[in-house]
Amino acid sequence: MILGLAGGCYFFKIGGLIAADVTRPTPRLYRLLSDLTPAVLAGLIVVQAFDGGGTLEIGANTAGLFVGALAAWWRAPFAVVLVLAAAATAGLRLL
């Protein structure tokens, strides 16, 4: 999996360089490739926060995400965001 990922990621990097030598891609392709990041990250957040195995569920981790997201919104350092989210979730589970 790691090697596949490494190869695939390098493919995009080198592919972009080769493409630049050969052709100018359309602005639409440009936009699509760079818009994939926000779209897929947002989808990933939703799935990790609400997917209870094929049903939408709100769990302790959903609350923890909310705490971490607020911290991120207020520009807390990345490590603080992770620790707050994990701590809030762990705390709720201990209750």
Binding site: G16, L36, A79, A87
Partner: protein, 227 residues
């Protein structure tokens, strides 16, 4: 400080490149800690940082595998997230060396930080320097950070693992914020989230995240021209 070092440090683009790398090193530590808390071996975590060298994709693959997702959907999601590096490569291709071997090595360093640093310079010479200094600095600090994080994570990983299923999405949210730079990208994110919500009960596991990529297709087709 030696005279040469002082001269090196006196230029903003060089200093900023080194400092940016050091800041990314902290992300590297968090990646290592999360990798250890998710049960990934030190060897695999380090190999990932050396060879994949794309933060968001590494976090995503790790998050999906650690929540019990299958490797194939982890791979697909991480690759969709890596596609933007192709755009960066296209836009800074003139900054990179023409020598074939150096170009192949430089390609591995094409990421968010190097693209941002080299495109924000006023002239070609500064762009080139900013690319290499930032790229090498991020590469060194990201990998050193990962290694330190794995070691730290083997000690503190257990408490963190109680809330790992919140730490990952909260981290993704922090990674998402800088990518919401214009309305079209914000629409792409909202569409991606909406498609995932609809997809969870309807699609097999792993597919809702990939389907969220359609949000980008819609936004890029209908939306404005800004990068």
């Amino acid at each position: 400080m030696g005279n040469r070092l002082k001269l090196f440090w006196a230029r903003d683009h060089r200093r900023d490149g080194v400092l940016l790398g050091a800041a990314v090193g902290i992300f590297g530590v968090t990646f290592g800690v999360l990798a250890a808390a998710s049960g990934l071996s030190a060897l695999k975590a380090t190999a990932m940082s050396l060879l994949v060298f794309t933060g968001a994709s590494q976090f995503a693959a790790l998050g999906i595998v650690s929540s019990g997702g299958d490797p194939l959907s982890a791979l697909g999601t991480a690759l969709l997230l890596a596609a933007r590096n192709g755009v960066y490569a296209l836009s800074i291709s003139e900054v990179l060396p023409t020598n074939r071997v150096r170009r192949l090595a430089a390609a591995q360093l094409v990421i968010d930080e190097t693209a941002a640093m080299s495109t924000s310079q006023p002239a070609m010479e500064e762009s080139r320097e900013a690319f290499w200094i930032t790229g090498i600095s991020v590469f060194v600090f990201w990998n050193a950070g990962t290694l330190i994080g794995v070691l730290v994570g083997e000690v503190v990983g257990d408490p963190l693992s109680w809330g790992l299923d919140a730490a990952f999405p909260a981290g993704f949210f922090a990674l998402l914020l800088p990518h919401l730079s214009n309305t079209r990208k914000r629409v792409a994110a909202l569409l991606g989230a909406g498609i995932a919500v609809i997809g969870i009960p309807l699609l097999p596991r792993g597919l809702p995240v990939l389907a969220a990529g359609l949000g980008a297709v819609i936004a890029a087709t209908a939306g404005g021209n800004k990068r």
